[in-house]
C-alpha cells in the first residue's frame, strides 16, 4: 500500500484558526482569515489550543491523495470510515479525498498502514494537528 498527498486546499491551519475564532469572537470570518494569513505565529498559538474533539473546526479543508492498494484494502477502509471519498482510477490506483476531521477520527479509532500513512501525509500541511496525532499514538 502506498499513499501520496497530491493536492489540498491552501493554508489549512489558518482556516482551522479562522474557524475557531469565528465561533467565539465578534469579528467577521473573512476579516479573521485575512488577519491570520499575515500572522503565522498567531495561527500556531490558536491551533495549539484546539480541542480536536470539536471536530467541525477540522472540516474546512480538503486533502486529496492517490492511493495504491488492493481492492480488499480499500474495502476495509471504506468499511472503517464513511468520511473519505474513493474513486477508482485503475486496478490498483484510487483517488481518495477527505478533510482533516476524517483523518483524525479514523486514526483515533483504527491503527492500520493506511491510517499511519494518512497521519504522516498531513505533517506538512497541518503540523499542529499532526503533533496532536503523534501524541495520541504514544
Amino acid at each position: 500500500m502506498k499513499l501520496e498527498l497530491v493536492a489540498h486546499t491552501p493554508n489549512v491551519e489558518t482556516m482551522i484558526a479562522t474557524s475557531m475564532l469565528t465561533t467565539t469572537s465578534g469579528a467577521q470570518p473573512s476579516t479573521l482569515h485575512d488577519r491570520l494569513l499575515t500572522k503565522p505565529e498567531k495561527v500556531r498559538e490558536v491551533v495549539g489550543r484546539a480541542e480536536v474533539q470539536h471536530g467541525n473546526i477540522l472540516e474546512h479543508n480538503r486533502l486529496v491523495w492517490i492511493l495504491e492498494a488492493t481492492s480488499d484494502e480499500v474495502l476495509e477502509a471504506t468499511l472503517d470510515t464513511s468520511f473519505l471519498t474513493f474513486t477508482r482510477l485503475d486496478e490498483t490506483r484510487w483517488l481518495v479525498s477527505g478533510n482533516l476531521r476524517a483523518v483524525v477520527e479514523y486514526a483515533q479509532n483504527r491503527k492500520t498502514p493506511l491510517t499511519d500513512a494518512l497521519v504522516a501525509s498531513v505533517k506538512g500541511v497541518a503540523p499542529g494537528i499532526h503533533r496532536f496525532l503523534e501524541d495520541i499514538k504514544r
Binding site: 482556516m15 469565528t22 465578534g26 467577521q28
Partner: protein
C-alpha cells in the same frame, strides 16, 4: 450580506493529473470554503439543512449581541413596518436586561428574533455545491438564501469558470424544471439569466 470564497481545492491540478476522470467524478473531491457574513438566523437555519457541508457559526453562547437594532436583517416586505422595529427594540431591551441581571448569554438569547444577524464559515464539496445552487438559485427559493446562492455562484464562476459555467438553478442545469406543479412558470427567463 457578504459572501466570499476564501479557499478551494486546485481544480486544474486535479484535472491535469487525472485526465481519465471527468468533472462529475472530480466534483466530490473538490471543496469550497466561504465566509458567509451578516445573514439572518432564519437564513442560516435554511443553510444548515444542506447536511453534506461543514459549518462554523458565530456562537451566541460566547458572543454578546450588542445594538440589536443595527444587527438585524430586515426583509423588504417589512421595510416600512413599525411592528417589526418595535419588536426588535423590545427584544433588544429584554436581552440586555437578562444579561445584565446575570442570566447566561446562552439563555438570554432565547428572546432574540430570527432576524438577528449571524456570520459563519461554510465548506461544501463540489457535488454538494452544485446541488445547493440547483435548489437555492431557483426562483422558488426564499429571497435571502437565493441572494446568497447567487453571490456564491458569481464568485465560483469568476474563480473557476470551467467548473461552474454549467451550475445554476436545476432548470438551467437539467434543461427542465423539476419543481412539478410548484414551478415558477418562467424557466426561459431563469435559464437566460444564468447563462455565463
Amino acid at each position: 450580506m457578504n459572501a466570499r470564497l476564501l479557499a478551494h481545492t486546485p481544480y486544474e491540478e486535479l484535472r491535469d493529473g487525472f485526465s481519465e476522470l471527468d468533472l462529475r467524478q472530480l466534483l466530490p473531491h473538490l471543496a469550497y470554503t466561504f465566509a458567509v457574513e451578516k445573514i439572518s438566523r432564519a437564513c442560516s437555519h435554511q443553510l444548515i439543512r444542506h447536511r453534506v457541508a461543514s459549518f462554523s457559526q458565530q456562537s451566541q453562547r460566547y458572543i454578546t449581541v450588542k445594538r440589536l437594532n443595527e444587527r438585524v436583517v430586515k426583509p423588504p416586505t417589512v421595510d416600512q413596518s413599525e411592528t417589526f422595529d418595535e419588536l426588535v427594540r423590545k427584544a433588544s431591551e429584554a436581552y440586555q436586561k437578562l444579561v445584565e441581571s446575570g442570566v447566561p448569554r446562552e439563555d438570554a438569547r432565547f428572546v432574540l428574533p430570527n432576524a438577528t444577524e449571524t456570520s459563519l464559515l461554510m465548506t461544501m464539496d463540489g457535488a454538494a455545491l452544485f446541488h445547493f445552487f440547483g435548489l437555492r438559485c431557483c426562483n422558488r427559493a426564499q429571497w435571502e438564501i437565493r441572494r446568497l446562492a447567487d453571490a456564491m455562484l458569481t464568485q465560483c464562476r469568476d474563480t473557476e469558470p470551467e467548473v461552474f459555467e454549467n451550475a445554476g438553478p436545476y432548470c438551467y442545469m437539467l434543461g427542465r424544471c423539476p419543481e412539478g406543479r410548484f414551478t415558477c412558470g418562467d424557466m426561459a427567463e431563469a435559464v437566460e439569466r444564468y447563462k455565463p
